[in-house]
């Protein structure tokens, strides 16, 4: 078992119900009965006494139960049917301590069928949290994080050994001569280190909203936006790691000091190495450290133009999830590579380069490209991005969207003219 490090410093606890399930056949009276039995499971094992406060809604108490859906003002939104079922706050002095929330989008029942969720089972688990227990990896234990179906008759239910030991560690055993448990105050988590002062980078707070990124890359499920000597980073859920940018050379160790622009970046599919292109050279990173032997010349990639000229830069690079191939763009043309086997010297697929115009509807001189979401290709240019749906190079019309607003938590763009549709310059754009 695992303890949260928090407990109630009293054994007489009160509880109340503030709302009831709206999508289930369980009546309010049945809900109260099931919750009372769920609390009794814990008070059978430890010297705890639970008393329900009269009057729903207005009643307070130590453990306040409610059925809520989606965002419900505690910072931990529910997610609709399935997924997360419930949560509870550990004991303490905070206003929310002991609060226990059930997702109202679930179909709650008591010993119902497979399409329903057993309220008693989940309530025993959540009250375990409200009393100070964390998730357990033991089997059997009601504190396992995953829902595994009804535990049976409420009148017959007894906690498993792992759960009894956990609650008794906190509050002692019922009938014990020493109230308060073996260790009245459970061990606390180590105190965090004092914060070290961080030198903040120079760009202004809102510079991320100016668009025109040198490179954009999807690395390990996060999107990195590079501009100048700095980068911003967004998580999969759309939130920024920080509103302030980080210095590229402080994070990506091994790039030359004074690096103030990168041309393109991508994560190689075959070995998760990260490739940086700057001018006529490229660097390969293992996580955030450059590998020995780099930089290497761009000529390794054997990208030549029809006139035989060697390239001096890469404009954009990405792995298209649609086919797993790597695409490098330069000077209005692109080359395709199959990197599934080899990681040494690259050789473009035959028939390349081809013109960027083949990516119909996309900007021909893009800042960068990434694969995101359901495998769609996202082209970035200036303040906008275009989404090319999975696999299709010839989409009729793709409307540009505002990068800052959608990716970097920026306010909406001023009502100025949108960029011309790069594929069909004569067509009007009313998207903005």
């Amino acid at each position: 078992y695992a303890l949260s490090g928090l407990k109630w410093h009293k054994t007489d606890l009160t509880w109340s119900v503030h709302s009831y399930p709206s999508r289930s056949n369980v009546s309010p009276e049945q809900v109260r009965t099931l919750l009372a039995h769920a609390l009794k499971a814990w008070s059978d094992a430890a010297p705890l006494n639970f008393r329900q406060l009269p009057g729903d809604g207005a009643a307070g108490g130590d453990i306040r139960v409610s059925f809520a859906s989606l965002l419900h003002n505690d910072g931990y939104p529910f997610d609709g049917p399935g997924g997360t079922l419930a949560h509870a706050f550990f004991p303490g002095l905070d206003e929310v301590s002991g609060d226990t929330h059930f997702d109202d989008h679930e179909t709650w029942s008591y010993r119902g069928g497979d399409s329903t969720t057993d309220l008693f089972t989940v309530a025993v688990h959540e009250f375990g949290h409200a009393l100070g227990l964390s998730h357990s990896s033991s089997d059997p234990s009601i504190m396992r994080p995953y829902y595994q179906g009804p535990v049976g008759d409420v009148a017959q239910y007894k906690l498993d050994l792992d759960d009894r030991l956990a609650i008794q560690q906190l509050y002692g055993a019922r009938g014990d001569t020493r109230p308060g448990g073996v260790n009245p105050d459970p061990p606390l988590f180590p105190s965090p280190l004092p914060p070290r002062p961080t030198r903040l980078p120079e760009p202004s707070f809102n510079e991320r909203c100016q668009g025109g990124f040198d490179a954009v890359a999807n690395i390990r499920g996060e999107v990195f936006f590079f501009r100048g000597a700095h980068f911003w980073r967004t998580k999969r859920d759309g939130s920024l790691v920080s509103l302030r940018p980080a210095l590229i050379t402080n994070f990506w160790m091994g790039l030359p000091t004074g690096t103030n622009k990168v041309d393109a970046v991508y994560e190689r599919k075959s070995d998760s190495k990260i490739i940086f292109f700057i001018g006529s050279q490229y660097w390969v990173f293992s996580d955030t450290k450059v590998m020995s032997g780099y930089p290497r010349p761009l000529s390794d990639w054997r990208m030549t133009t029809p006139s035989g000229a060697a390239l001096d830069r890469v404009d954009a690079a990405f792995v298209w999830a649609h086919n797993g191939k790597t695409y490098l763009f330069s000077g209005g043309q692109f080359w395709r590579f199959d990197e599934s086997q080899k990681t040494g010297n690259q050789e473009p697929d035959p028939g390349y380069p081809r013109s960027n115009h083949l990516w119909t509807g996309m900007p021909t001189h893009m800042d960068d490209v990434i694969t995101w979401g359901e495998g769609d290709a996202y082209f970035f240019k200036d303040d906008f991005y275009w989404v090319l749906k999975d696999g299709g190079m010839n989409q009729e019309y793709v409307s540009p969207k505002a990068t800052g607003m959608d990716w970097l938590r920026c306010p909406g763009p001023p009502p100025t003219a949108a960029p011309q549709n790069p594929g069909k310059p004569k067509e009007c754009i009313c998207a903005l």
């Binding site: 419930a86 999969r236 980080a246 495998g375």
Partner: protein
């Protein structure tokens, strides 16, 4: 298929972060999730969930990740504990 895999991987990383198996991105240290770190997190998640430890997002792991569950994280304060252990060593 490649698109589905990419999306699956990304969702799995999100799931591992949400339930405490991967440290959340920290604006002060700004660490990048490493390939090895993600593999190790998958192993811990598999061990915690009582399924075979493979370190890869296999069908059993995906099944467990899609099982209805409590929203509280499984690993609380994991990163600080790991830091302390390293310092002690």
């Amino acid at each position: 298929r490649a698109a589905a895999q990419s999306n699956q991987y990304s969702r799995a990383v999100d799931w591992l972060s949400r339930y405490g198996y991967l440290p959340p991105p920290d604006p002060l240290t700004s660490k990048l999730q490493t390939k090895e770190g993600i593999e190790q997190a998958i192993r811990v998640m598999q061990r915690f969930g009582g399924i075979q430890e493979t370190g890869i997002i296999d069908s059993e792991t995906l099944k467990l990740m899609s099982t209805p569950r409590c929203s509280l994280p499984d690993i609380v304060g994991g990163e600080e504990m790991r830091r302390r252990r390293r310092r002690k060593r």
